[in-house]
Symmetry: D2
Subunit: 300 residues, 4 copies
């Protein structure tokens, strides 16, 4: 619950909402603005969310439909609430994209600034997080000092999520995203232990490189926030039987969401705890992620 | 209910929250940030409000404690949500003021811009509104053309509230606030009738000149949003018996609010429908406002 | 010269810079960010400009490369200076567009808000202005009241330029852009005369519908700000002989600018005073515009 | 010179302008908005400045005239250019303050965010910087890791200046500002040497605690940007002989500026290189600061 304290500050650690799409080029507004529980609608009122309002900025990252060979994805960040942003509306209605990520933020505290908005980008990689690192205040100095010195100056915000992204990059995200994010989360858990934080990791995570989308669900306490994705397109069409604009969805369209975009029973598949869903042109599959308690890594 | 439509636009007419203080010089943060249901807390979650979130900008206007003879009140407007605004926090913690007005906005629609934030100012006068002019889209051209041509260029926003303020100024607000706002609202009702709008006026209104505070409650349908004010200081102290900082309130402190600032039963007095509360150093009194049913021009 | 007065207010009427492109789909950053005197470079330092800094917001409007049948152009407006806007950089680097317009603003005065940023949009039409309506303060009430009542509620900003656009729409811009803008400017001149303003019109104007681009240069005093456009692509290639990225320009690429984008002599063709340049796929031609003193129209 | 590169990024390290006041309570607008070369005028055009435009945000910090015992100074930060900020105008016209600091920023690069705006605050201390740490990109990880771990989480921006402030706090700024800033600058020079940076320190620095104002001028190369302050009030009155509002200045009024506020010869006293000016109620004096050439660690 977002509960301003007596000083008016938001003291509680709170969370966000995110959405990622992979498939045939699509106007992002179809998912971000135009569904029953679109991400922008969720920014005002989130049925499953830990807090009602996700109004502390937003971000949208997209891979272009016809990229130049060395193209990086575009990012649009804003500290305004998503629900009244005219630029976001125009942008997501005018472009098409075969892979995009969007995020609405409910900040655990100031500062509200564009450098704290998801998704975060490094070269052609994007990263988003819904959740938090418990005790980040205590751990951040250690965590950031573990980031590769060549990457360190690229950390420009104050969030736990951005530091986690740079730890994962340090541990090889661009070579093996699943192993690297796993090592990064284990490193956070070890660092937390040193500082007396018992359950430092909580969340769902999206990683994308323009071809593949990885959607992770993991928490130290094995009780993570919700994560869903749509299945192959027949199910998706079944989901939205009466919506004419569904014709724009292609055969490979898949969407990953922190909350379902509509109330149709069975329309969205739950990603289980301690699991990563891997989605690309060929379809999707689930893999265990940090699920073996014995297999805890101890990165240097 | 704030309900983004299929296009993501907020279509419904929605409302705001406001607060006004008159009395001994006070740090405004005492009322804006630091009470149980402070205005900033209400911006995230409004118990009595028509909508949950008042996140579409805010405004704060204050008369300085030691004004220069020709001093106009200061205004701080922002399109950001009030709940995370560090500048508002610092400003209201650092200054003192014998009369201030604050407003959090839930916009009926774009544009979200500082010129649409309350309070509005003309010379030493401030004005705020919680409510709306139904059918303003149809009436605005007629209403604005009725504004005194010398005042017309000062209208810089797009809200119904600002136009209403300039109508009231045209009708003599600076000479007789009660009569002038009454004439302005009647003019809106007449204009609505021409355009087939049956109940054009809805709301509560605050007017201040630095010495006196007028708080109005009136709607064409005689079913206005809530309005309350605190009584003399003994009641106020009774309201907050356990709050040490109440010591900062002086004998003449009075606060007018669209929602009570705490849950203490009886702490706040309701301003009845079709009534204006007049508050100044000498105390307060209520007067009927547009209350004569015979004189009503056009409500359905 | 932008000269803050003793009160710190910018009192002088000042001007802006703009750029428009028509041709094969292009990454807009090629012209907006990447040339010697790109629009963003001009926002900090404008060699031919009336003022050094164009830092009071900017706008970018673009027609998508693969529009849906009923597509309107996208718009990105911001009140920040263009030179440090990361979102503008990402957007113009990631998309392509066969026709786009960009504008950096040096405001004659507050308010600085997105609704005062060019280009302005109505359905599939875009409009930009570099210049001003002298005495707009005196004329604005008359000018706005002459706007078609059905269009009136769409005026959401405070600029002379937006009001001029809605006058031109009222006079038939969508049917005959040249005649309609001519009538609108004549109407401004007549209105100015009534208010004792001797030379009310000053500027260059861009109008676009997604297929054709009209670039006007006209002032009451026949001494308008500069306007240029590039010729057919052979000249354009001659202009940038050493720039490898010129390979991205297609055979039909044309750019209209308030200032040349480089110092190459002869690279840009001057649009003469009282002239409109019409640019589309087939090439370009110039026509006289309000050039016949006898032919002054008197719209109702 | 602010020179956007081919990518549109501002590559050159650039500088800022600042102003600090100590004396009888004063409306800050008198110095920030209302003089011939006021700080806001300098934000658009800076006669002595290294760059023309200081439009990348601003900050204003003030100690209240009647502070509560534990009062911290207020801060107003904005990423907008100072020259059109209505909130700054209202704030500095409405309050009075016996000590205030103001800063306009010309950023060496993104991000432009409030957490990168000066002055920086820790408890009752304020800090501003005009200049830069050369090679900060290389040094920042080492510099930040040298900050006291209990202070580390308070670093929320990305600037060299903020890191320098926290180093000075680590080295005892609150006990001995002159010694502590000296140690911090020496530490930066040592760190620069390790990274092959020959002249890492450049700038002028303001430190305030609400009672005393310290204004430093020091660079590794002994060639710092300009710094001036006004003398006792008789000189100040002599400076502005025709300005009626000078009557508001009290006997103890002193202002420190990176550029003189008017063109009157002799009105402002230069603070010499490697010197700190100490200003309080009793007057002012100069002390050498890092002036011992033998002790210089690393300049070229």
């Amino acid at each position: 619950m977002v509960e301003p304290s007596g000083t008016g500050r938001v003291e509680e650690v709170v969370m966000c909402r995110w959405l990622a799409y992979s498939g045939e080029p699509l106007r992002p507004a179809e998912l971000i603005l135009d569904t029953q529980h679109s991400l922008v609608a969720q920014s005002l009122n989130s049925p499953l969310g830990a807090e009602t309002v996700n109004g502390d900025g937003f971000g949208f990252g997209w891979y272009p439909t016809d990229p130049s060979p060395d193209a990086v994805p575009g990012i649009f960040h804003s500290i305004e609430p998503a629900w009244h942003n005219e630029n976001l509306r125009d942008l997501t209605n005018t472009i098409t994209s075969p892979m995009f990520l969007a995020h609405v933020r409910a900040a655990a505290g100031p500062p509200i600034q564009q450098t704290n908005c998801h998704p975060f980008r490094h070269e052609n990689w994007l990263f988003m997080h819904n959740g938090f690192l418990e005790g980040f205040h205590l751990m951040q100095r250690d965590l950031r000092y573990a980031v590769d010195p060549s990457l360190y100056p690229s950390i420009v915000g104050t969030t736990d999520s951005e530091t986690l992204f740079y730890l994962a990059l340090t541990f090889g995200l661009q070579d093996d995203p699943i192993a690297a994010l796993g090592r990064a989360l284990r490193f956070v858990e070890e660092t937390g232990e040193k500082h007396g934080v018992s359950a430092p990791v909580q969340g769902t995570y999206a990683v994308a490189d323009g071809k593949t989308l990885w959607a992770f669900r993991y928490s130290t306490s094995h009780h993570s926030r919700t994560l869903f994705h749509s299945a192959a397109i027949p199910e998706l069409r079944e989901m939205f039987p009466d919506v004419e604009r569904l014709e724009v969805f292609g055969e490979h369209a898949k969407v990953v969401v922190s909350e379902p975009l509509n109330d149709t029973p069975g329309a969205f598949i739950t990603v289980p705890e301690s699991t990563v869903a891997v989605l690309d042109e060929s379809g999707y599959h689930h893999e265990p992620f940090l699920a073996d308690a014995e297999a805890v890594l101890t990165p240097a």
